[in-house]
């Protein structure tokens, strides 16, 4: 009933190759984007924007980067928080040391810095695979954080080791209110997500997936392995770097290197595992699950239990329920929330008919 596909013909290759071949999908996506751009900034409270939507968008971006590397290219990586740190500190230093540096340019440059670092730490992937590669990228995580901590230059020799991000000014307009920051982050994430989707659908993505499925066969087929793997590392780290810069500038406002812990790297990996490995939507859903669900649980428990139950018990129960939900979701759908959505859509295309 929702997807009346009768009469929708695709008469050109261009039409056939759209991201959303069905008209209903296109309308839904447009409506969602319109709501995100027009309705949300007006309706959402400061709390929703600052504490929920902006971090969700930022972590979706980072999860996208992780998904490109681990989901599409099959290179297990535990260094995403490290690359975020590179992006954050690079952006801070570009804004600090180059007079009149526009913020967007600094953002792209910091992404490129993170990409360079990512490529350097991606070199082991040419020799090792799987869990061993994960350990090598773990080295990236710890080394980057250590280096940023050790060399005071990165933090402008601040005695406390915490840098305060400069205010964002683009073309003379300041982006300081939550609404403005939200729109900026939304714009950047939409553009980069579109880029990622197109890369994943195109030759680049197919090369990654070939490397993921069986890299020896891919090499035999003629795919340049080194280029493909390093490209995956570079693009993934670019996304993580931009995400990290936004994390520092548009979300927290201050960062220290030890904020980018191994714990954060693990959470980003969990985001794509729960969201759906190798999907674009999965990054968004997974980020929402890992980031926002604990908050909803916390609000729910405080509302339900409130003052009657000891707050320590409430906090502990939140963690227990969250862990249990992860297990439940992975048992129900091992391929992640994106697959759940895909199944739902397939059913919706037939509904109310069973087949």
């Amino acid at each position: 009933m929702f997807y009346r596909e009768a009469g929708q013909f695709r008469t050109s290759y261009g039409q056939d190759g759209q991201i959303f071949p069905l008209r209903q999908d296109r309308w839904a996506m447009l409506a969602l984007l319109a709501a995100a751009v027009l309705v949300v900034p007006m309706v959402a409270s400061d709390y929703w924007l600052r504490a929920l939507l902006i971090p969700w968008l930022i972590f979706s971006l980072v999860a996208l980067g992780q998904n490109i590397l681990t989901g599409y290219a099959g290179q297990l990586s535990l260094g995403s928080a490290g690359f975020m740190a590179v992006g954050a500190f690079a952006c801070y230093n570009f804004m600090l040391r180059v007079d009149g540096m526009p913020f967007l340019v600094a953002l792209v440059l910091s992404g490129l810095c993170a990409a360079a670092v990512g490529m350097a730490f991606g070199l082991p992937s040419l020799r090792i695979r799987g869990l061993y590669l994960a350990v090598a990228t773990l080295a990236a995580q710890f080394f980057i954080v250590w280096a940023l901590d050790k060399f005071g230059w990165f933090k402008n020799n601040d005695p406390s080791g915490v840098i305060t991000a400069q205010p964002i000014v683009i073309l003379g307009m300041g982006f300081n209110t939550p609404q403005e920051k939200y729109l900026l982050v939304l714009g950047i994430v939409v553009v980069l997500a579109l880029l990622a989707k197109n890369m994943a659908r195109g030759a680049t993505g197919r090369a990654w997936m070939a490397v993921r499925d069986m890299d020896v066969a891919a090499e035999v087929m003629g795919l340049p392995l080194m280029r493909t793997k390093l490209q995956a590392f570079a693009i993934s780290s670019f996304y993580c770097g931009v995400g990290g810069a936004l994390f520092a500038f548009a979300y927290l406002g201050t960062v220290e290197p030890s904020a980018f812990t191994i714990d954060m790297s693990f959470r980003i990996l969990f985001m794509i595992i729960i969201g759906g490995v190798g999907t674009i939507l999965g990054s968004f859903l997974g980020a929402g699950f890992i980031l926002l669900l604990p908050i909803f649980l916390s609000v729910l428990f405080h509302a339900v239990a409130g003052k009657t139950v000891d707050a320590s018990i409430t906090s502990a129960v939140e963690l227990i329920v969250f862990g249990a939900l992860i297990i439940v979701f992975l048992i129900v759908e091992p391929h992640g929330l994106a697959r759940l959505w895909q199944l739902t859509k397939e059913r919706l295309r037939l509904w109310p008919f069973p087949h």
Partner: protein, 448 residues
């Protein structure tokens, strides 16, 4: 009729809807009447849960005490809501946002007891009109109230603590001139927290002529073999333990015992000076010193009264009442005292006796904190806090510590009076750092 696919996806949909519905449930029942609302960003799970439950439990117990014993402040009831931060910067910022407004009420004091969270909200407190208190941690240069009007480092910052510890060490050595040639090891967690006192330590090393050995320990710090080997090789005279978490701190004490380094030559910062930090080390911790903000013990009249009034009525926040009088709980009580005194002062200054305060009034009230010896006695905390006052320019106040020593069962105050830091030197460093921050952030310091 429905096969596995749709029932699976439906289940997911139902779960998602249930979760979304949770956000519509109000988190605090709206109470009528005159109330002053406080948001409490507590951490009750994770590695620092012992400190968090103690500290925030102390605050809540004191607020409860004020409500029960005096009917609030001039009739204004203290109300609060908690939010779990898990000692995490992102969660802390989210908690700040969540606790900020509750219906018509707004919170005006935020005390996260966590440096990362304090930094995370530092930029927002000016606009949101929230007093950010960093009780013995956080940005040391926030003591300069001209650059940081909304941030307070009452009643002592890390720099003051480091200076006070060295002052006490120098008295144990027989004077500042005897410090020449001595070796002081700064065993610290390799993080911003651990490196915070370094400017002060380095400066004093230069001024007094002792050798400062900086020994970082990588997180989580439960492996310190190499570090203590170095301490033994260098034959350090004193070790300042700037550790974090019961694991790291008890490991430091055990490692010291293993190489026979006298525990009497170790002084821990307050993060390394609670019951929970030394109990795991057992007998090895006997003789270990720490620089506390607030001494432990139940000998203070207020502590005994809270136990009688609040715990007697079964409204105590600590799940284990034996923790009353522990260091973190005592400290929480004093934090609660600061808040309530701020409310009292604010009501007096703004001429709003018996009414709710807004942000600016709360800030003025906090800045007018003046704990004279007479007031301390009135409150029943003589000896628990030093006498100090805040001002427009001085947001730190005391800058003193009490040196306590563990005897195997409890902490005993070694110094009957408070050990002071070098106020002049610290103030100089604070103003220099604050001016640099102001220049970088393009803030005009206000006139005081």
């Amino acid at each position: 009729m429905f096969d596995d696919g749709i029932s699976r996806s439906l289940r997911g949909l139902v779960a998602a809807v249930a979760v979304a519905a949770a956000t519509l449930v109000p988190a605090l029942a709206q109470a009528q009447g005159k109330e002053q609302y406080f948001g409490i960003p507590s951490y009750r799970v994770g590695p620092f849960a012992a400190g968090g439950t103690g500290f925030f439990g102390g605050i809540i117990d004191y607020l409860q005490y004020v409500n029960m014993k005096e009917g609030g402040v001039n009739g204004v009831q203290m109300v609060w809501a908690e939010c779990e931060t898990e000692y995490n910067a992102a969660r802390g910022v989210e908690c700040y946002q969540r606790l900020l407004k509750k219906g018509d009420l707004q919170m005006h004091i935020f005390e996260p007891l966590a440096t990362p969270i304090a930094y995370g909200v530092l930029n927002r407190v000016d606009d949101d009109k929230v007093v950010l208190t960093q009780y013995g941690y956080g940005r040391s240069d926030a003591a300069d109230g001209r650059v940081f009007p909304w941030v307070f480092s009452t009643m002592t910052s890390y720099w003051s603590q480091a200076s006070a510890i060295l002052n006490w060490i120098s008295t144990k050595e027989g004077g500042v001139d005897k410090m020449k040639g001595k070796k002081i090891a700064h065993l610290h967690l390799d993080s911003a927290f651990g490196r915070e006192p370094l400017p002060v330590l380095r400066r004093l090393a230069k001024d007094w002529g002792f050798e400062l050995i900086e020994i970082p320990v990588a997180a989580p710090g439960i492996e310190q073999q190499a570090q203590w080997l170095r301490i033994r090789q260098e034959r350090a005279d004193w070790v300042i333990s700037w550790g974090f978490g019961a694991g790291m701190n008890s490991t430091a004490i055990n490692s010291a015992a293993r190489i026979n380094f006298p525990r009497e030559k170790m002084v821990g910062v307050w993060w390394a000076g609670s019951e929970e930090d030394v109990l795991p080390a057992g007998d090895a911790a006997k003789g270990y010193f720490a620089a506390a903000n607030v001494p432990s013990g139940k000998q203070f009249p207020l502590v005994q009264d809270i136990e009688k009034v609040v715990y007697g009525a079964g409204k105590g926040n600590l799940s284990d009442p034996k923790r009353i009088g522990n260091i973190y709980w005592n400290r929480g009580v004093t934090a609660g005292i600061f808040w309530v005194e701020a409310v009292r002062n604010g009501q007096r200054i703004a001429n709003k006796r018996g009414q709710m305060l807004n942000g600016d009034e709360m800030r003025l009230g906090f800045e007018a904190l003046n704990l004279t010896p007479a007031r301390l006695k009135e409150l029943g905390i003589e000896g628990m806090l030093p006498s100090f006052k805040l001002s427009c320019a001085d947001h730190e106040g005391a800058g003193v510590v009490k040196i306590i020593q563990w005897d195997g069962a409890k902490w005993n105050s070694v110094t009957p009076d408070w050990v002071s830091s070098d106020r002049k030197m610290i103030r100089e460093m604070v103003e220099e750092s604050a001016a640099k921050y102001a220049a970088e952030q393009k803030i005009t310091p206000r006139k005081c």
